[in-house]
Symmetry: C2
Subunit: 811 residues, 2 copies
Amino acid sequence: MSENPGTSLRPPLHPVPAPPDPRPGRRELPDTDLYPIEPFRLVETRFTPSRIPQTETLFALSNGYMGIRGAFEEATPVYRPGCYLNGFYETWPIVYGEEAYGYAKNGQTAVAVPDASIIRLFIDDEPMRLDYVHLLEFERILDQRSATLTREVLFETHDGRRIGMRSIRMVSLEHRHMALFRYEITALDAHASLGISSELSFHRRGRPRVKDDPRVGPQFAENALVPGARDTEGSRVIRDYETKRSGLRMACGIDHYVETVNDTDLRPEIDDGTARVMIAVDASPGVPIRIDKYAGYHYSAEAPADDLRFRVRATLDTGLHEGFDQIREAQRRSVNSFWRAADVEVEGDDEVQHGLRFNLFQVMQAASRAEGRGIPAKGLTGEGYEGHCFWDADVYVTPVLIYTQPHLARNLLRFRYNMLEEARERARELGHAGVLFPWRTIDGHEASAHWAAGTAQYHINADIVYALRKYTQVTGDTDFMFRYGAEILVETARLWVDLGFFSDRHGGQFAINKVTGPDEYTTVVENNAFTNLMAKENLLYAAQVIDWLREEHPEEYRVLARRTGFDVGEVDEWVEAGHKMYVPYDERAGVHLQDDDFLQLEPWDFAGTPPDKYPLLLHYHPLTIYRHQVIKQADVVMAVFLLGHHFSIEEKRRVFDYYDPLTTMDSSLSACVQSIVANEVGHHDKADEYFWDNLVVDLADSAGNVKDGAHLAAAAGSWMAMVYGYAGMQDFDARLRFSPRLNERWKRLKFPLLLRDRRLVVDIEQEQTSYTVEYGGKLPISHDGEPLVVTPGEVITRPNRRVVGDDEESS
Amino acid sequence: MSENPGTSLRPPLHPVPAPPDPRPGRRELPDTDLYPIEPFRLVETRFTPSRIPQTETLFALSNGYMGIRGAFEEATPVYRPGCYLNGFYETWPIVYGEEAYGYAKNGQTAVAVPDASIIRLFIDDEPMRLDYVHLLEFERILDQRSATLTREVLFETHDGRRIGMRSIRMVSLEHRHMALFRYEITALDAHASLGISSELSFHRRGRPRVKDDPRVGPQFAENALVPGARDTEGSRVIRDYETKRSGLRMACGIDHYVETVNDTDLRPEIDDGTARVMIAVDASPGVPIRIDKYAGYHYSAEAPADDLRFRVRATLDTGLHEGFDQIREAQRRSVNSFWRAADVEVEGDDEVQHGLRFNLFQVMQAASRAEGRGIPAKGLTGEGYEGHCFWDADVYVTPVLIYTQPHLARNLLRFRYNMLEEARERARELGHAGVLFPWRTIDGHEASAHWAAGTAQYHINADIVYALRKYTQVTGDTDFMFRYGAEILVETARLWVDLGFFSDRHGGQFAINKVTGPDEYTTVVENNAFTNLMAKENLLYAAQVIDWLREEHPEEYRVLARRTGFDVGEVDEWVEAGHKMYVPYDERAGVHLQDDDFLQLEPWDFAGTPPDKYPLLLHYHPLTIYRHQVIKQADVVMAVFLLGHHFSIEEKRRVFDYYDPLTTMDSSLSACVQSIVANEVGHHDKADEYFWDNLVVDLADSAGNVKDGAHLAAAAGSWMAMVYGYAGMQDFDARLRFSPRLNERWKRLKFPLLLRDRRLVVDIEQEQTSYTVEYGGKLPISHDGEPLVVTPGEVITRPNRRVVGDDEESS
């Protein structure tokens, strides 16, 4: 949460009362007159100051390398505008009330860089503000097919002159370091003396930061960055900065192309916090002015500042050379290719289609050009969670990319591979073998100040392996496994055998104590089922890959053995630990236990908990929460989703039925998984309800914190809820299996999947499903248990036979 | 630890390797030539700069209200000198890396006040330092029969003049707010121009504080206090200060009486950090100068500064009026009366006698005039633990006082009663009924920044009730129970029934989850045996007292019911919860479990842990420690000591045998308890070894942190180890039972006990024990199982029949 960069307790999904209180069903999207339901567009039809915090997030643009919040060009009124570069951060020493060995030493916080989206307008030297002038027309459009944000404004000055403005902005998908802004203005009725201050500036923050917190004082306001050199030349200004502690340098610059027959004068100006080109225009009535503004951003830990400024010059030159229109055309082509690969079409439910497209667009924006960086929990749309990456990216976002844009999934896995050295160091510091990936990080070092819900979440290791395994199985990318994947497997497996032990108390099974699972409403427990099951997968998959390498790729095997100091005897340990992995199960309740002690906890008094006490974490001490059977987010339910092949449908149903009423959904990571499992076990009403909850977490601001950024995991989760949930996809081995069922409002659900160079299109209607392979070779799949081989060009159609679970249950 | 005021992980007792490594037996006291073994005196025979950090603690003087570290008068060379007032502290906002609901908000740190012990000497304007001059003779004596610290120094200046100095200081036991200093100096051979700067100053700290920690920056150096008004008049200076945040005001002052036939000139001087009276002396050869310096200290949260200055004037007037010699005489009488009530005589072992007296003297110094304040973990001898009070006072120190100076025990219980309102607030904040006493505090508010080892130690409630019960049983002070005790009982009992629940999983027994017991090497566990057993005592004792009140003191009962909103039905809940209290027990191992999961933890690799890895807390992440069967300090063993009546001797032996090898003794609270239980179960070698470890923790600096202050709990623990351990006293009901056994080196162990206005003297020899009641009525006791009634004036002697356990065991 942006007020306190240190808070890791995840924000709530929605403050509704938890079960057994009756949950409201599908809620409508709010204010559809203000934000009408449109395919591929988010439109704001009126200037609405009260929504500025939310719309800065919803109208944010990003290409995964840089992100610009959807603030007004005038830079006021604003909530918390900002421009962010993925992986660009400042670090600070974490102060603990009480220190102990092995605590994470340094915090990391993404810091805003100068914002090129600011173009302030002065009329007769009076600054124009949307909330001061008399607005006649206003519209903002986030076009998800062109990845542009357009604003149209018509207003009247206090002395009665009408002025028309139009701006278009984009963060280029083709040119990773470039953002572009077109700004058109026309004095409609009368002559006007206009000053246009096209800036590259730090924002003066809209509200004060938390007091009494030494980390968020001046060092994280505008002076987090130390100014370096400045170049100005005509319509161009370029400058560089460096951080005080993290050792990063960045350069940024803007240049302009002005087209008008009005008289204009152009003058660059620069000081520590602001760079601007001031364009004075003597505007004749009806004569438009158009300014195309190009911005470039580069940063590096190694490159000298002058080289970074040089790169910015090159970016600006490219922009001016290609021109706004050509780059906009390329932008449209880029986005189109994303939609071809990833669009999920829903017929018969415009709201769902609207929400789904918005969410997929967020995934595209966060991932496209991340290249070597991770996907923060909020993408680059806000300052929530300080720009940290969690398991969200590995378990929620990567699977979507694997099936739609596998090269982006590969990039994310490379990001994890690249932090192997830091993870090795961290394991060593904690006395472990192998690697321990950071629970929250920007640069690969553990940045969690709350170890019970941070460091203790060892499952991060297995989450990354889960993504790696899915990537490899779906893409068949053995090269990646040779170069990077196998090393991750060896090192993560080493951690697990070191962490646990064969426990006499569990009949010699392999136990893992004092870990925290996904549910942060219990921490530091014995044998968290999710962790143990995921660790088992990790161990056995590592062993399997090593065996395969040794037998089929002896040269790669030798390289790996050299690189990791690997000894073949280790595999036996992994296999033994994996096969003997202890998973707590309660015979009496017939369910897998979240951990050894979960059933010993006191039941939570849901009936006595008023709605305003949710999310619990804001109203109860951790000890009170830990002491009760109450869950923040899917944990065992998450395990039966991710590792569905280890559970029968009856087991899954018992798990869902047991844990769902205990789950508060105080985390936005929960609803999509609950929806998927509810779908599978036949609780369709619940599936629909959770699907909707998850779908609109950003658009309806149901968690109340969209102002801090979009919920990337939930965004990706809406794809998962469609594909794994409604289409009933299971992909635990090389063969895809489907068991589709549509919500009764929907006429059609259609989406493509890319796997091993084949594109499969799944087209589900109420009664039947059609499968097509658009290109590539034959593809064996199954539909409702029937094996099929889909041949390119051929359409295979089968009736949907999945039964309606709840009815079945209740009969 | 004073470097980091926030550290709650308790300091280690000694860095020896843990079992099963062979433990060294009794170690000698170090450097007995430098610090000879003497009854009632700690003598330093040579100037030893390397020991300054330790001797500042060992030679500290205190009366429980104020404490002055044993630094040299010259204020250099010093380690961390200081003067402290019990309960005088500054507060600061605790900064958490990650915040959550209910965390303690403000830290508290005892802050040094201006030190009146500073008397600097200038010879021809050159400051005299012990480490610069040519020292001919040096001796310091802490006399435990007069509670004075004397220093004798003979030195030669660089130009060959010999000067003799003698100083005596005391912190008055009679005049709580007064400290006194006598300073005598004689130029022996030649004329000398002396400047004597008698100060009341903040020390310039001897070494830098930890960097990067906003709490220990300037606000806790000399400018923690804001100077107020100043009065100077002749040989007197008085001033006042106030803290910046905690709202406390203090005033202090000094006055002088100078006696000499030399020419002298006296001049007061004052600035923000220093007040001094400068005494210039034209010293003739062989003509002595004697300065008697009186210091007064007062503080308050309410009184205005001028009133505090007035009180200081009154204290100084009293001092000057009575004079140094008369006050010294009163001091001697005070200390004598303490020794009459509390001395433990050991014949045949001078080292033990030496150590024991030093420890008892520390208890006396910490408790005598605390009056309304607590006993911090370090008394007033250093800055360790920031001057916080823990359960140490209730469970270790109070029992000693109950049997020797019951009015001081009563004061400590009043201190707890006085924080009932803060404890009520804290319980409410955490959603609990009743009260939750703070784990660490100065002013009654929870000041622990690490809740897992702080707030989660709910046993603090029962620890206080343990002390209350013992006090009431031993003294028969029903008045205290009426006024204060019963309310504590009602409110603590309410907490317990609210905290736990009747658990289906434990057959309907009462379970208490997510608490931390005394052993901080596991935290936040299910059903900590110690906690549950102590809670049970608390509940049942509360019920018993309520029943007694209702039946025998209906008026007091009505007052209590009104004051607490008490409902008679509550008692039934307490009784039911108490009787049904679940205590984890393992049939297989035949021992009570430290908690539900303790046996599920992986064994610690003691054999593979080198000595330099102790204490573990400085070398392993908490998760690693928590994950293993490794114990910091007595936990179940503590329970079988405090609640010995609930365990058979065989159970105690199994408990000791199981847990002792797992216990690292990384806490100084552990050894005395291990010694007592080892004695009881017949492991006499171990009992002797732990007794010695505990005895010399300060004198031998075996934990390496005496520099930060004396270990008060261990000091009191050496009395407990004698009385409960060697004399084999059991006092679980109104009747004392003894089962004495002496260490084979000892000829005699003799101590008095005060109970219900009788003084019982227990005189143990190798073969027999004699019991005498010195005053008061008849006293029924038992000796080795034989009931006896001791009548005043009569000596009852019985042979010791307790068998030697280890021999018995091994045969």
